[in-house]
């Protein structure tokens, strides 16, 4: 087994925290969490549909 310590943050790790974590406050502009979860699902579908031959549109965050 290998332990990899990533210096760069992968978008997927960031979204795990920013879309599922953090304090939920109903701001003046309200997006209900259910909507955000839907976005997440759409995101998964979008990514799954990316053809292997097409370079992925999301990269590592510097």
């Amino acid at each position: 087994m290998t332990v990899v310590e990533r210096r760069e943050i992968a978008l997927v790790d960031l979204l795990d925290r920013l879309l599922a974590g953090g304090v939920v406050i109903t701001g003046d502009i309200t997006l209900r969490i259910a909507d955000v979860d839907l976005v997440r699902i759409d995101l998964n579908a979008l990514i799954s549909s990316v053809n292997e031959n097409v370079p992925s549109p999301w990269g590592d965050l510097p």
């Binding site: 087994m1 960031l14 795990d16 974590g21 003046d28 997006l31 909507d35």
Partner: protein, 270 residues
Amino acid sequence: MTGLRYVYAVCRPFDAPLQVQLTGVGGAPVKMLAHHGLVAVVSPVPEGDFAEAPLREHLEDLDWLGATARAHQQVVDALTAVTTPLPLRLATVFRDDSGVRVMIESGEEAFRRTLDRLDGRVEWGVKVYVEGGEEQPEAAALAAKPASGRDYLRQRRNRAQEREDKWRAAERFATRLHGTLAAHAEESRLHAPQNSPLTRGSGHNVLNAAYLVPRAHSEEFVELVDHTKDEEPGMRVELTGPWAAYSFVDPEGTGAGDAGGREDTSGEVV
């Protein structure tokens, strides 16, 4: 400052200087809005991007989402270097400063409680992957040509058995590792395993966990993760962090909830 207010985090007032010219979403300058002994970290964002309809649309755009998430994280990260911020969820937006003040007032007690609980703690992310967990048709094709129907069935059974053994071993390993790490952390959370297409690395994600660890014990925790490297062949462990305590803003044992206390006034425009 015109435009809507994007709030990154709430924290206690701090003296340490922030990174000069800290910028937020869209490159806008970040400012500290102090109220009732707490500080909201905010920046102006254009209504054209963050009003409800455009925001909804933007959230489906990976490039936009990625850039916004990165900007959010950069601000929270800069705060983490000087204090313990309470990070808010992505895209928490208010009409103006007075909307932000009302938010602080109504969430005041919960903010203080959570800030006390998280003070001096950071979050570490640990993921376990089974390497080569996918079926490999080439390998199957390369196997010796079966001499008979019975041989064929036996080979097939063996391959299925091997796969199953591998998954069992992975599960055992992940469970044991999580137990060990959780015992060395104050709190832990399990995130849903990440979809293979979402992760660039090879392998199948079987554990996606977050651990709340006092900053002072972080070195020990990282070493503990590092020591697992010789334990199990065919597994890969990834460590990320230190993060602000995104996954621990709710007390242990509660589901995703709001600590801000404005849920019951949703839709209200300040």
